[in-house]
């Protein structure tokens, strides 16, 4: 939970928006390999995986048999038939793959315990990274992934992140984590780029302002309902496609939207708090947070698509907090 009076959190958010900030950002990492790895991932994932160049990655969702989102992740082609899936649900992904691997010569492993991960985000993040690494990364394209060194330590760097700013993610061996963190701190210091310590700032506040959601926001929606239709490639086969097409043809019943509440704070609004239109439940908030760039209490919600278009006035939670439906992106 974040409050507008929290000056520490505000300073951390401001640093990322105006200069740079860094933090430990360890995701689950599933390594996929084998002769059919690419074909398998193309079947399991909604976005087009076949043809992804070596050293590049793609954001994608993964669906269940109902055509609803069970995960969203970035799939990186690491070369040599090896893929990295960066997700927050590694064990879930492995179990899901176990259930659907028949007919594919593929292997996969949750390698989360082997790799630590840091994120450097903000307009000056490329300068921090170039000061940190043996070779520059400022020319990387989005989701491009390369190998570099921090001093003598081998690391893997991609251009990406979850703040809506220019940013980079750095993977290092777990045993090198402390040394790498010290090196990032040293490289960041000349740019007044602090280490962020407030989880909610970099997990919720900064991303939400830019319209970036977590899987917990999207879970159970179709990619179309989640405003991710751009990632759906109906000219290829993928798991859940048939149900997704049917649901799409029937018309989306739910909408993924933004909400702004008009009260000072949102202590009475938890995840999945019920949203009412004229006293009738019409959806739920998936999460709320304070956005320091926009200086508002903002949230994501899943609502009845027909009854709750943008501009609808609603209330949220047990104390009837007044709110308005808005586009799910604030800056």
């Amino acid at each position: 939970m974040l409050f507008k009076e929290d000056e520490v959190a505000r300073a951390e958010a401001k640093a990322v928006r105006e200069s740079a900030g860094w933090y430990r950002w360890t995701h689950d990492l599933v390594e996929v390999s084998g002769p059919d790895a690419e074909r398998f991932l193309d079947w399991m994932l909604v976005n087009r995986i076949v043809g992804t160049p070596e050293g590049r990655g793609k954001y994608t969702t993964m669906l269940d048999e109902k055509g609803e989102i069970i995960d969203d992740l970035v799939a990186f082609n690491r070369g040599g038939g090896v893929w990295w899936l960066s997700t927050l649900y590694g064990p879930h992904a492995v179990r899901w793959f176990d259930a659907h691997r028949e007919g594919f010569d593929v292997s996969y492993e949750d390698v989360t315990h082997a790799w630590d991960m840091y994120s450097v985000q903000g307009p000056n993040s490329a300068k921090v990274m170039d000061a940190l690494l043996d070779e520059p990364v400022d020319e990387l394209k989005r989701f491009q992934i390369v190998e570099r060194n921090v001093g003598e330590l081998a690391v893997v760097v991609d251009r990406g992140g979850f703040t809506g700013e220019l940013g980079f993610e750095l993977y290092c061996k777990r045993e090198d984590s402390v040394a790498v963190a010290e090196a990032i701190a040293a490289a960041a210091e000349p740019f007044d780029a602090p280490r962020l310590t407030t989880l909610e700032v970099y997990v919720r506040s900064l991303p939400m302002e830019k319209g970036m959601a977590l899987r917990q926001d999207y879970k159970g929606l179709t990619p179309y309902e989640a405003n991710l239709g751009w990632s759906v490639h109906l000219d290829k086969d993928f798991f859940g496609k048939e149900a997704l097409v049917a649901a799409h043809e029937a018309g989306e019943k739910r909408a993924f939207v933004g909400v702004e509440i008009e009260r000072e704070s949102y202590e009475d609004i938890a995840q999945k708090e019920i949203l009412y239109k004229r006293g009738v439940p019409r959806g739920c908030v998936t999460q709320m947070i304070y956005g320091y760039t926009v200086d508002k209490n903002i949230g994501f919600a899943v609502v009845d698509a027909k009854r709750c278009p943008v501009g609808t006035r609603v209330t949220i939670g047990p104390n009837d907090s007044p709110a308005i439906i808005v586009e799910p992106k604030w800056c």
Binding site: M1, H92, D268, A270, K272, E273, V280, Q287, G317
Partner: protein, 467 residues
């Protein structure tokens, strides 16, 4: 928003004769009530529970009806699931409050008894994952996976905060994580079913949270090894409007390690006090029909109900009892005091005439059943067992007496790994006391063994040395 007639889809039949037929059957079975339409407004259920019609069973209007669960009383009234859940929590808390009264009789030092139960709570929580490092990490990984706690939250250091959050939420404390940084976690709780137990418990819960920190840190089990000070700096059980639990890192705040009695200290950074208009009366489960933790993992109210009906007995009764029994000179002394305390609690439950009338209304006891009728007490016991999710069967239910059969394993082993014979001792004394004021002193309650079962009797009994 109109609420329609209740439609029974799946039924357990109450023993009392309705419409000329009588079937004896357990009333613990969940019953389904239905509300027309999916949107029933603030007071109505907003989310279908598990007992839906199966797909393809299109029964005209019923196919469009949401279904909800409940507990049926002896007279056919349905106690809604949320109400039954709340009552279950409160009965467990009341049992715990009685046990704590026993403790206070046995030991007149607040410090001694608080230290004892806090230490045992810490040890038992640590013991939950005792074993070698491999087992510990396996246990933690399973926990992280189950609750999808991502590594990016530095979970090894802050599992206590995350775990505590889910724990108290599941136990209906409307907790919210006010602050979650690398150096500090603050949680604020507006409601707590256990707020009647007393201050020792408020301190004791911090012992459990500390154990969670210790477990995650991989330190010496059962010892305070972590680098965090953990304070319940406000507690509803002590009269504060909130419970407020704050964990602060020793190095960041320049703090010392705590002892067992140090957990009620003040926070070392300013706290956030939620204004009254944004406090909540109920936890997520009751508000929204489900619990969702910070990272979006969802559990239904049904899951939460089952979890609490087991674990509530473990942490709030079983763990402290280990220390409390040690405070008595011997088992006889402990059990003598326990029976006296529970008998008194029972008598006081229905001393007020309006309490008796309230119970009759709650259970829908018909007027043809008079005040001096054992079925009133039998129906009450049945409702307690039903709401506590304890399977039981009727053996007799008439004006001559009531007999309820329950397996000893179900009655005492609410959590099968930690059976409590004190449940039988306590409830026998409490219900007997309650019977004397709810019905009359002509009627008594006693629990008899029958092979692997208990028979809970409400009958006439003359005891020249009655408590």
């Amino acid at each position: 928003m109109s609420r329609k007639t209740v439609h029974v889809i799946c039924i357990s039949v109450a023993p009392y004769k309705m419409n000329g037929c009588r079937t004896f059957y357990s009333t613990v079975c969940m019953l389904v009530s239905c509300v027309r339409g999916s949107q029933t407004g603030r007071q109505g259920p907003v989310r279908a529970a598990s007992a839906r019609l199966k797909e393809g069973e299109d029964m005209a209007l019923l196919a469009h009806v949401d279904t909800h669960r409940g507990v049926e009383t002896a007279f056919g009234k349905i106690i809604p699931e949320k109400e039954a859940y709340s009552y279950c929590l409160r009965t467990i808390a009341a049992f715990s409050a009685n046990i704590f009264q026993v403790m206070r009789i046995l030991n007149d030092s607040w410090e001694d008894r608080t230290e004892a139960i806090t230490e045992i709570a810490n040890m038992m929580n640590c013991a939950a994952c005792a074993g070698g490092d491999d087992e510990l990490f396996q246990y933690l990984d399973q926990f992280y996976d189950e609750w999808n706690i991502p590594e990016l939250v530095k979970r090894a250091a802050w599992i206590g905060a995350i775990w505590g959050d889910y724990g108290v939420e599941a136990e209906d404390m409307a907790g919210r994580v006010i602050q979650f940084t690398e150096n500090r976690v603050e949680k604020e709780l507006d409601t707590c079913p256990w707020d009647i137990v007393g201050s020792e418990m408020c301190n004791m819960t911090t012992g459990m949270f500390t154990a969670n920190f210790d477990i995650a840190a991989g330190g010496e089990h059962g010892a305070i090894t972590n680098d965090v000070q953990l304070n319940m700096c406000e507690a509803r059980g002590c009269g504060n409007p909130h419970c407020r639990v704050v964990a602060e890192r020793l190095d960041h705040f320049n703090l010392d390690h705590q002892g067992w009695l140090d957990h009620r200290g003040a926070a070392h950074a300013p706290v956030h006090d939620t204004p009254p208009e944004r406090r909540v009366k109920h936890g997520q489960g009751l508000r929204n029909g489900q619990y969702v933790q910070a990272f979006g993992e969802e559990n239904s109210l049904e899951w939460q109900y089952n979890w609490v009906a087991q674990m509530g007995w473990v942490w709030s009764i079983s763990f402290p009892l280990i220390a409390i029994r040690d405070m008595a000179d011997n088992d006889d002394e402990f059990e003598r005091i326990l029976r006296i305390v529970f008998a008194t609690a029972g008598k006081n439950s229905f001393i007020d005439f309006f309490a008796r009338e309230g119970l009759r209304a709650w259970l829908d006891i018909p007027r043809e059943i008079g005040d001096n009728d054992p079925r009133v007490m039998g129906a009450y016991i049945d409702a307690v067992l039903g709401c506590q999710l304890v399977p039981h069967e009727w053996e007799a239910f008439d004006a001559d007496g009531v007999e309820i059969r329950v397996s000893q394993e179900d009655f005492e082993g609410r959590f099968e790994m930690a059976p409590l014979e004190e449940i039988t001792m306590g409830y026998e004394a409490q219900w007997n006391g309650a019977c004397h004021t709810l019905v009359s002193p002509e009627w008594s309650v006693w629990i008899a063994e029958d092979d692997d079962d208990y028979i809970i009797n409400v009958g006439r009994k003359i005891d020249d040395r009655a408590l």
